[in-house]
């Protein structure tokens, strides 16, 4: 949660009912409606003399508006729902924090729901959020496969929503430039002289994974290196998946084994590091690895990881802004934010 700062008011302690707007009104000798207007900063009247007097009385009474009453009357909760597969991954956690902070700046609350990568749960938690009457949704769980799913339902009843980090190919979205990121990663390895470059490519339903692969392809092609399809392996997003996928790549016979590895995220990179060690390969001497997301962990690994940094802050804030525009029925266009490559010690010239 976030929402507009309610910092000052707590002299009210102990006993008794919470003061209501009517209490403040009585104390100030005005009508409750006047109090309401005095407390509403969008209202010009809220700058008048009476208004500041009312605010002062409200403060010393420890008055705090009852959101339920306001929501009911106003027919809006000033809350947006956030759907993520899990908050346990650092990237999602960071994105969530950015979203939450952006919300607070706009006087909104953020309500989080997780799907644990379950497609059905996606619809379920989405509806759950809607049943809480959120004013809009930010989804970081979009998939490219199938037209089904929850988004059409959303679109159908006109609920404002925006996708973050991943797109379905249609809906308004705020994304990282994954193609560019993949390009930068591959380019970095090419510049270091690598020619057999493998990729732990992530799942095919995730647009961000696909974009990164595309970028890699483009970089290789541009450099006149033919893409060896056996070296581009689908995977999940987890460390386990990274480890097993990397293990497959590293098990290739000597001349075919990649000397450089681009991974779909830092998690799988960590898995790859473990696989390399298991195979008796030294990083970066025998194998270069570049991660993605530049998680705080990347810089602190025993072998600090070269990684592509994604501007999560911009993406989070962008998503909230876009949602607000949509709610006001202003036109929007999907946004793409450029990542940067952070070179560290996990990459070195090709052996």
């Amino acid at each position: 949660m976030t929402g507009t700062t309610a910092t000052p008011p707590p002299p009210r302690r102990g006993t008794g009912r919470r003061p209501t707007m009517t209490d403040v009104a009585r104390e100030a000798g005005v009508n409750p409606s006047t109090v309401s207007r005095a407390l509403d900063d969008r209202h010009p009247f809220s700058r008048s003399d009476t208004a500041v007097r009312i605010k002062q009385i409200a403060a010393q009474l420890g008055y705090t508006p009852n959101p339920a009453a306001a929501n009911l009357r106003r027919q809006s909760t000033r809350t947006i729902g956030v759907v993520m597969s899990s908050i346990t991954g650092t990237v999602m956690a960071m994105l969530y924090e950015e979203i939450a902070e952006a919300c607070r700046d706009h006087g909104l609350d953020a309500l989080l729901a997780t799907t644990h990568d379950d497609l059905e749960a996606e619809t379920a938690v989405g509806r759950l959020l809607l049943s809480r009457r959120v004013d809009g949704l930010i989804l970081a769980t979009a998939r490219l496969d199938g037209p089904g799913g929850f988004l059409p339902e959303l679109a159908a009843d006109g609920t404002p929503f925006v996708l973050a980090l991943r797109t379905d190919g249609h809906s308004p979205a705020v994304l990282g430039d994954d193609r560019l990121g993949g390009y930068l990663a591959a380019r970095h390895l090419l510049d270091l002289g690598h020619r057999r470059i493998g990729m732990i490519a992530g799942p095919p339903y995730a647009s961000n994974a696909l974009g990164r692969v595309d970028g890699l392809r483009q970089a290789l092609t541009e450099a006149g290196v033919e893409v060896d399809e056996r070296l581009v392996r689908p995977s999940g997003f987890s460390m386990e998946s990274g480890e097993s996928t990397a293990a497959e790549l590293l098990a290739l016979p000597d001349g075919q084994r990649p000397t450089g590895l681009v991974t779909v995220n830092d998690n799988t990179a960590v898995g790859a590091l473990a696989a390399a060690r298991r195979h008796g390969l030294a990083v970066p001497q025998d194998l270069s690895v570049v991660g993605y997301n530049d998680t705080p962990l990347a810089a602190r690994l025993p072998i600090p990881l070269t990684s592509v940094r994604v501007p999560l802050r911009e993406i989070g804030r962008g998503a909230v802004d876009m949602l607000l525009r949509i709610r006001q029925e202003r036109p929007v266009r999907s946004l793409v934010h450029a990542p940067t490559l952070i070179p560290r010690e996990s990459t070195a010239p090709a052996p």
Copy 2:
């Protein structure tokens, strides 16, 4: 967010106003109050024939209760506030997910607020949560220092709350048995023949850090090893802090340098691993390291990390249960859950 599953209802798409209870009542030819009772599962009437008919009509209308109206009338939001320093750390993220899931099982929502370790922010976000009229608070940010802070304020106006993971020494809390955890970690190293055992001890205001240190002390003392106070160094919880603190310890002259290191969490353990590498020390040959929390990362590090697993699930659920009991004014006692040590490759017999 979580809360009771609203899975079934979505035939309502497109145009028009959302149906209200009154709509359902009209359709069913009954009074709205009857609908309310029919839909309330705690009410015995909700099992009657009319009730199931009403539910059916509600479902086919796509009716969904308006929480604002219900909250207003009921004077409770069925929402609990969760205060954490940040959701970016894996431990907090996992704890949050457990709390959220436990909430859902009880038909509650969880509203998250983060303090970023800022003492003032703690009060601010706490009040913010209260201004949202949450029914209670779970705080994972408790400190031992000073009687000030937010908790007395909470206690004073009778808001139900429980601490998780850390205690202030007084309030109802659900904790891990940190003393035992520290004991197990130290004991493990002692069993491997280590005698010069250092600790990256975490901050002095955090009860969990302190408990772990105590446990270490107890294990050493029991084993007849005198505690070398220079080897027990306060630190933060971050990788950076772990790295710099470990660096200090490893810079000690040869005979004084610890051969085993207990860390306050996996983060600082990762930092220590980096420091070891920088010092040219091999883990576990020259230095054994045991982490704490058994983050998913621990098992997947290039050198899999021996770590103390904390039952976060039990702690999360326990905290929610306890909060519920408090809200019902039933007596509660603080709870402590035992951790277990997971040995991996970062620990080996003393050199």
